[in-house]
Symmetry: C2
Amino acid sequence: MPVTLKELAARAQVHPSTVSRVANNDPGLRIAATTRTRIEALLRETEYRPNGVARGLKLRQTLVLAVVIPDITNPFFAALFRGIEDGATPRGYQVLLCNTDGIPERQRAHLHSLAARRVDGVILASTFLKDPAVRWLRHQRTPYVLVNRFSEDGVDPFVGSDDVMGATLATQHLIGLGHVRIGHLAGQPTVSTGVLRRKGYQAALAEAGITADPDLVVESGFVEEGGAQAMDQLLSVRQPPTAVFAVTDMTAVGAYGAARKRGLRIPEDLAIVGYNDIPLASRLIPGLTTVHVPIHEFGSAAARMLLEQIETGVLTPRRVVFAPQLVVRGSSQAGADEQLVGRPAQRSPAE
Amino acid sequence: MPVTLKELAARAQVHPSTVSRVANNDPGLRIAATTRTRIEALLRETEYRPNGVARGLKLRQTLVLAVVIPDITNPFFAALFRGIEDGATPRGYQVLLCNTDGIPERQRAHLHSLAARRVDGVILASTFLKDPAVRWLRHQRTPYVLVNRFSEDGVDPFVGSDDVMGATLATQHLIGLGHVRIGHLAGQPTVSTGVLRRKGYQAALAEAGITADPDLVVESGFVEEGGAQAMDQLLSVRQPPTAVFAVTDMTAVGAYGAARKRGLRIPEDLAIVGYNDIPLASRLIPGLTTVHVPIHEFGSAAARMLLEQIETGVLTPRRVVFAPQLVVRGSSQAGADEQLVGRPAQRSPAE
DNA sequence: TTGCGGTGAACAAACGATTGCCCTATGTTA
DNA sequence: TAACATAGGGCAATCGTTTGTTCACCGCAA
């Protein structure tokens, strides 16, 4: 059992409040040097650390943040979490991680628990358009930041990338390679990234004077399995695409599988472009051409915004939007894989 | 600001303790039906949830667990975390995630913070042999469980696999394929998995009457970059191995890169076997032959053990050791990749 | 009328820290 | 010598719950 103020006070023959002031280095404290020394020795000897729970109750701050995401086993969210933790830990905060598997009810349940625990703030990366949970957060006056996806355009603190621009870049790249029948593995229309990336895809086609074929857009969701199914469907139309833009890298991974199963060569028979540039993208064979976004910085920026909001009560700027960048690899352009050489090494993981 | 007991009590014209008892459904409570109804209506109307911090102070339990790992972006730990959360959430616990990057000082700092926060228990997956942090946990009487690695043989609550057996299986597999010069990308001798897997490797060689060549064992650590460097070194010896057993899958991924850079074909020129069977293993080309361990179950078993310890004060059994199983894929045996067909789908991730 | 048992709730003491205010010596000044 | 600063700490309220104990009241029986 860790030592308490009261016990220390008894041992030092002083009042607990005095020990507290010494421990907290109260600036306005007048105290005899000998007393201070005696108390400090005791503090060191017992390795006293104030009970965080009691402190939280009194000071109304827990020094805990929460991160709510669909699934940490998705490399995108793992990298995001690292960014958040790296931003929060140096400032004394620790981070609760909540996986929702994309199920609104689980998200709701987690948020309610988090509110009951009085976490100081929430970073939410699993929101969808018109998400009632976000309205609830607003109403609760819980500090929060949305990441990657937003719920209502422009009203919430947000960190993400310019999805329309990223999708446009990706599609223009395929157009530039001479593709005309370009498919899209699309995210759900209930999610901002799904909507905006589809919009960017369509904008690029329109700009190039290519008439959009509705058969070439298939909803895949954001994960591997959906990507495989949707790709399979795309390859079954009477005149299949020669290239696809997948709404996320994981979706593209699914597409790889589906293409390979049909004996298609990438990129000769089918060019593929993804979105996010997760670590896995460069390890695929061929490497996945994708839209790079600074995932780790999403996290650290979100943490910074959240902490600013918590500590100062105000927030400026309210939105951080990174410009995405195309990374060309072998999945769209044969022989392009050497562009990988010299990319910065990843943060070192360890078993 | 959420509503408090005191406010509710004022509105219901009763004492706070009465509201508390109604909210907690105190079995021994005698109360007039009308009063109870009035209070219950108020509880629902205000969506009252007791302040978890105050509750934690009074009850001396926070309903928070902590997971301490090297790095969540390593797929092994991501899967492990899911297992833990899936075991903890249904029982009302939420989980703090702490990344140490394998740095003892960061681990120490996190554990101190966690103790100050009075987390109910800790799951530690980043320990090493004779880890002072584990001794500290014991001394603090903080409930804890070690996962995957242990600190001192047999003394701590532990969940993991039989590393010697797994390594033996892997090596025997290579021997069975006719390999004689078999290398080992080894973990550090300061970590239990490093020591035991090396021991299993050596045992298999000895049993087959193959004399161990010290040049064929190179310390790689547990991550990709180390694997690449160590593999490079192995391929530089005067008579390079025709097969290697890598201490983890991530190390094997590094080996893939190194081999490919030299133009070696896998498995024809170099057979590779890994350990852990992370999701990435089956997506590599060729698929990575590896020692399968139930990562998700590591997590849920650890959570169960920890909760038992927390809630009952005792722990039985103290050790859960899973028997590992070899999964043969194309990295050791050409044409073996079809053994992948029909493997259970992964848990659905989402962007 | 007194006593008693049962109802229905209030009281109050924790849990461990923080912090504004008060109190008592002692020395200083007028 | 009376008034007053100042130094050095103690007091007590507070954060929001939980829970063992006490209390007031009512009806009923003796």
